[in-house]
């Protein structure tokens, strides 16, 4: 706060990428910063929530059990059953873990006191994407065999031979580069931009509040916008968790399908 006040005297400093870098919490270890701590916290929160909601499972569900089951039911119905099809049960643990993990870490972005979406540090989306990447390639190789799988990627049926020269590089790039790239970038960029937007309106409002009389009045609008955008962010954060899981499921479904 005192830093901010000092800055207010010398003009407004807009938030930048530097606001996403944190000092280590313990000593000088770069492995113990706020985002890392929040990831561990999310694992604890998710585990505690779903263990308590499933522990005393009853036919007439308690409120806790109902909450847990509706989250699971949502992932199972709209993502698992609809996208993957009859074999979806094998992948439910994976999809459900991804969904809850991404969702909780995104929601940290608007959670009071934490207020930082973990997924706005690119390392975290990348590591989840690596899991999805390995899973869908592994499922493909196991389901179709390595050579038929590569053949299916490189040579799609029903195309005159010379055209393969142009299409094959694009197909290879789609499967091995663009898919994981877009998966990680979409989540990262959405969380990064959303957090930056909130920072701009909150810090801007605070700066205006410490300026002249008319500006003090204007700061109401800035804070109002920040509050409105917080609700907007809530929607984006849920949507991004859903889309990430949905696309993972789609890639797995593609791996399981016999023909295109």
């Amino acid at each position: 706060m005192s830093v901010l006040l000092a800055k207010a005297e010398s003009g407004f400093t807009p938030p930048s990428a530097a606001d996403f870098e944190f000092q280590p919490i313990f000593g000088h270890s770069i492995y113990f910063t706020k985002p890392v701590f929040m990831v561990f916290l999310s694992v604890i929160v998710i585990s505690v929530f779903f263990i308590t909601s499933a522990r005393k499972a009853a036919i007439v569900p308690s409120r806790m059990q109902f909450a847990g089951e509706s989250v699971y039911g949502f992932v199972r119905k709209t993502i698992g059953e609809e996208v993957i099809g009859p074999e979806f049960m094998r992948f439910m643990p994976f999809l459900f873990s991804i969904f809850t993990f991404v969702l909780v870490n995104n929601l940290f972005g608007i959670f009071p006191l934490l207020q930082f979406p973990t997924m706005s540090r690119i390392g975290f989306p990348i590591s989840i994407t690596i899991c999805t990447y390995l899973v869908y390639h592994f499922v493909s190789v196991k389901h179709k065999g390595l050579l038929p799988y590569l053949k299916e990627i490189c040579f799609m049926p029903g195309i005159p031979k010379p055209v393969y020269l142009i299409l094959t590089p694009v197909e290879i790039a789609t499967y091995f580069i663009t898919r994981p790239l877009t998966l990680a970038m979409r989540l990262f960029a959405n969380m990064f931009a959303g957090h930056l937007l909130l920072l701009i309106f909150t810090l801007g409002g605070e700066y205006l509040l410490h300026s002249g009389l008319i500006f003090k009045f204007m700061s109401i609008f800035s804070f109002g916008f920040a509050i409105g955008l917080t609700f907007f962010e809530f929607g984006i954060q849920c949507l991004q968790a859903y889309i990430f899981t949905l696309l993972s499921a789609l890639y797995i479904a593609g791996a399981l399908s016999d023909e295109h």
Binding site: T78, I79, E82, V83, M156, G158, I159, V163, I166, L167, P169, V170, E171, I172, A173, T174, I177, T178, R179, L181, T182, I243, L246, L247, L250, H260
Partner: protein
């Protein structure tokens, strides 16, 4: 149905991106080593054509 449409939407973006990336990249590299200036543009156009063709096969023809 909405779920499928959403999937198709992102797959189409993926195809377009990889078309640009690969053929644009090849064109840029060719420009770099041959000292020309036109191949990057040619590569981009070729990539677009390739992506659109793939999208047509995957999503329209079926």
């Amino acid at each position: 149905m909405a779920t499928k449409d959403e999937g198709a939407f992102w797959s189409i973006i993926g195809y377009l991106l990889s078309g640009f990336l690969i053929w644009g990249g090849i064109g840029w590299l060719a420009d770099h080593f041959l000292g020309t200036h036109i191949l990057f543009l040619v590569g981009m156009l070729m990539g677009t054509v390739a992506s659109l063709f793939l999208i047509w096969i995957r999503f329209v023809k079926e």
